[in-house]
């Protein structure tokens, strides 16, 4: 999993499945800034376990007055959000966009 060193920026792995969940969880927890920018441009698979981490992270950021931004996003990522019934606004906060 290749993370950017930039403190508020995180590049998501290509396959966000069961095996990626633990490391994504750790990565998200290390970001203490209320504003997190995620690069989902390379995501080819977004599984439900990683989705729930992103949802929790978005809530976390909001609680701290910030939010998530997702850019760029791969088609696969958007398609998965659609399938899961997750509107982008659920993850990405207006103020933060």
């Amino acid at each position: 999993m290749a993370h950017s060193n930039d403190s508020d920026r995180l590049t998501l792995a290509q396959r966000l499945d069961l095996t990626a969940a633990a490391s994504l969880h750790r990565a998200l927890l290390t970001h203490t800034s209320p504003q997190i920018h995620l690069d989902a441009g390379a995501v080819s698979h977004l599984g439900a376990l990683c989705l729930q981490l992103l949802l929790a992270a978005a809530d976390d950021c909001r609680r701290r007055g910030g939010g998530l931004t997702l850019s760029p996003r791969s088609a696969a990522f958007d398609a998965a959000l659609g399938t899961f019934g997750v509107p982008l606004s659920r993850l990405q906060t207006e103020a933060a966009a």
Binding site: A21, A22, L29, A56, F84
Partner: protein, 644 residues
């Protein structure tokens, strides 16, 4: 509700009359097979009919009716505009809505409001959820689902391939990021999918994960479900209109099936007699098995009867047209109202009812309902109402025809009866006896000869036709309030209620519908005329005697009538005779078997049936017996010579 001097009332009345025509046009358009193919003519006709109802309703401020018609009309507008097409699912929703439209009109006419059925309209609007309620799925993966390498994304994608789904994610149980166990599942989904999808197809999507997730698959509640219930209700009252695939069956095949079931019943009672000792103990296995067989046979019989059964609605609708024509000719205003029109009756009965009901409707318009001016003077609505209702009552079907007209003019009936020599001028009659004179052959109280009456067609014809169907008719009238005819009919012509008699060593059956009463014969009551005719005094009336065994040339006829039983029967024209038999055995339902095809006509006999022991018993023809009563019996020896 009607102000007699209100000009609006007249317009209102004509609006409701027009509504009836519009409903018929709507029904015709919907019934046309072309409508199912979204043919423009039929769709337009349906649209215009509903549109006209809406327009009229709005101008009379019948808000409930106009609102319903407005939304109902939209459906046809969409069809006209090609935004939708007719499919079986839509047809199934249009028909109840059309029915409700007629209920609303009826309610508006009576100044009532009707139950709100906007669910019918909602169902129409939801073209994507046809036959039944949408599927409603709750899906909550557990950690085990993820641990076994399964992925909700794939499951959800598979469901999406089945049809348009609405997916809602629930994150209610999602903890804070720091508290999350990354391998635990916290998310759950709620999905709504079209009800047309087979449940198995849905379940297949959850193959291998059903035990590692919380899963509920149900039919969704809401408008779609109430539609499903409405369909189920409609099906209960009208199997033919139910959903699901249907087949057309040759009537002969059903009749054959019905015959076989009849055989089964007979075979069963033969078996019962044969193994009677084994059945004596009510706890024996044989008894239990036999009882099961009996109940299955009876269910089977009911099911076969149900195949032949049809709702009386089309018959009633035909009467609506007859009423309109009759009213137009008679210069009267009349409207018809149906109750229980989904009641099912064997088709043979329905066919046989058309003629008598037509007579009765004409009779109600002609003799029952008053002229509009007279009604106004009486403070009645100018438009008379004829109510036609049908219901099942203890194994028979009861049809009632009620008109809110003047009731029977008993003084006039009496005068006519005296005039025609039907009764003596000083004969005292109860109201019921007077009313019964209407059924006397040739009786007609029509004051004016119109194209409807004056044909010498009276209620006797009605009674004769009903009697052929094994039916009975009774009349009940309140002066100034109206007249009520009650018709009681068997559910089918294949089975009849009969009285089993013994005469000349044979068991004979007499249709119950023809029997007036039974009396014990005392020699003193019998008068013998010079020509050998015997008469018997029953309740002050002299009735010709008919010794069944002698008249039919049965071998063991008893010469003395003393201690035998007389059964007073009436033929279709009300002519009576007292049939002398040795004994009355019981009353029973029998399956009617035709004789004519194989045996040709048989004197005094209408048909045959098969007894419990497998032997054939003959069913007497009451009409023929009455004709034979009084005429001296032909001795068997002479018959033989004639036949040789």
């Amino acid at each position: 509700m009607t102000q007699t001097d209100d000009p609006l009332a007249a317009i209102r009345t004509s609006f409701f009359q027009e509504c009836e025509e519009l409903l018929e046009q709507l029904a015709d358009a919907l019934a046309d097979p072309a409508f199912a193919a979204t043919a423009p003519d039929q769709v337009n006709a349906a649209f215009r009919a509903v549109h006209s109802v809406k327009g009229g309703a709005a101008s009379f401020e019948l808000d409930q009716l106009s609102a319903f018609a407005h939304r109902f009309e939209n459906t046809f507008d969409d069809l006209r505009a090609g935004r939708r097409r007719v499919d079986p699912a839509l047809m199934r929703r249009i028909l109840p809505a059309a029915d409700h439209l007629s209920f609303l009109i009826e309610a508006a006419r009576a100044g009532r409001t009707c139950v709100d059925r906007s669910d019918l309209l909602q169902a129409l609007d939801q073209s994507e959820n046809p036959a039944s309620g949408d599927w409603f799925i709750r899906f909550r993966p557990t950690a085990a689902l993820y641990a076994t390498g399964n992925e909700p994304l794939h499951i959800l994608n598979a469901l999406l391939e089945l049809g348009d789904a609405r997916i809602d994610l629930s994150t209610e149980t999602l903890p804070h990021l720091s508290d999350i166990n990354p391998e635990e599942g916290y998310l759950s989904w709620q999905l709504r999918l079209p009800g047309t999808i087979a449940e198995q197809a849905l379940r297949d999507c959850f193959d291998f994960v059903e035990d590692v997730c919380d899963l509920q698959i149900t039919r969704a509640v809401g408008p779609a479900l109430s539609q499903a219930k409405a369909t189920a209700d409609a099906r209960r009252s009208a199997p033919a209109a139910g959903d699901g695939p249907t087949v057309r069956i040759d009537l002969d095949r059903i009749d054959r099936l019905m015959n076989l079931v009849g055989e089964l019943v007979i075979g069963q009672s033969m078996l019962e007699q044969t193994i009677a000792p084994a059945l004596a103990n009510s706890h024996s296995p044989a008894r239990t098995a036999f009882d099961t067989l009996t109940s299955l046979t009876s269910d089977l019989q009911d099911s076969v009867m149900a195949i032949r059964a049809q709702p009386v609605k089309p018959l009633f609708q035909r009467m609506s047209r007859i009423l309109r024509d009759a009213a137009a000719v008679a210069g009267k205003e009349a409207t018809i109202r149906f109750l229980g029109e989904m009641t099912e009756v064997d088709r043979s009965i329905i066919e046989g009812l058309t003629e008598p009901l037509t007579h009765m409707i004409r009779n109600a318009v002609d003799h029952g309902l008053e002229k509009p001016a007279d009604r106004r003077a009486l403070g009645k609505p100018t438009c008379g109402t004829v109510t036609l209702s049908a219901a099942h009552r203890v194994g028979r079907v009861l049809i009632e025809l009620f008109d809110d007209g003047a009731g029977i003019d008993r003084a006039r009936v009496r005068a006519v009866a005296v005039d025609r020599g039907l009764i003596d001028h000083d004969q005292r009659l109860t109201d019921a006896e007077t009313d019964a004179l209407l059924f006397h052959p040739g009786f007609s109280t029509a004051q004016a000869v119109t194209s409807l009456s004056g044909r010498g067609v009276g209620l006797d014809v009605v009674r004769a036709a009903l009697s052929r169907l094994g039916g009975r008719i009774t009349i009940e009238s309140q002066p100034g309030q109206g007249t009520r005819f009650q018709l009681s009919l068997p559910l089918t012509l294949a089975v009849t209620d009969g009285m089993a008699l013994r005469s000349g060593g044979q068991i004979l059956l007499l249709p119950l519908a023809s029997i007036r009463e039974t009396v014990r014969v005392r020699g003193a009551d019998i008068r013998r005329l010079d020509d050998g005719t015997e008469l018997m005094q029953i309740r002050g009336q002299l009735v010709s005697l008919c010794d069944v065994a002698a008249v039919l040339g049965l071998p063991e006829s008893t010469p003395h009538h003393d201690h035998s039983v007389a059964v007073l029967v009436a033929d279709e024209d009300g002519r009576q005779a007292a049939l002398i038999v040795d004994e009355i055995i019981d009353q029973r339902q029998v399956v009617i078997k035709g004789l004519r095809t194989n045996c040709g006509p048989v004197a005094g006999i209408a048909a045959a049936t098969i007894l419990g022991d497998g032997r054939v018993a003959l069913i007497l023809d009451p009409g023929d017996m009455v004709r034979r009563a009084g005429s001296p019996a032909v001795p068997p020896s002479e018959t033989e010579r004639l036949a040789g």
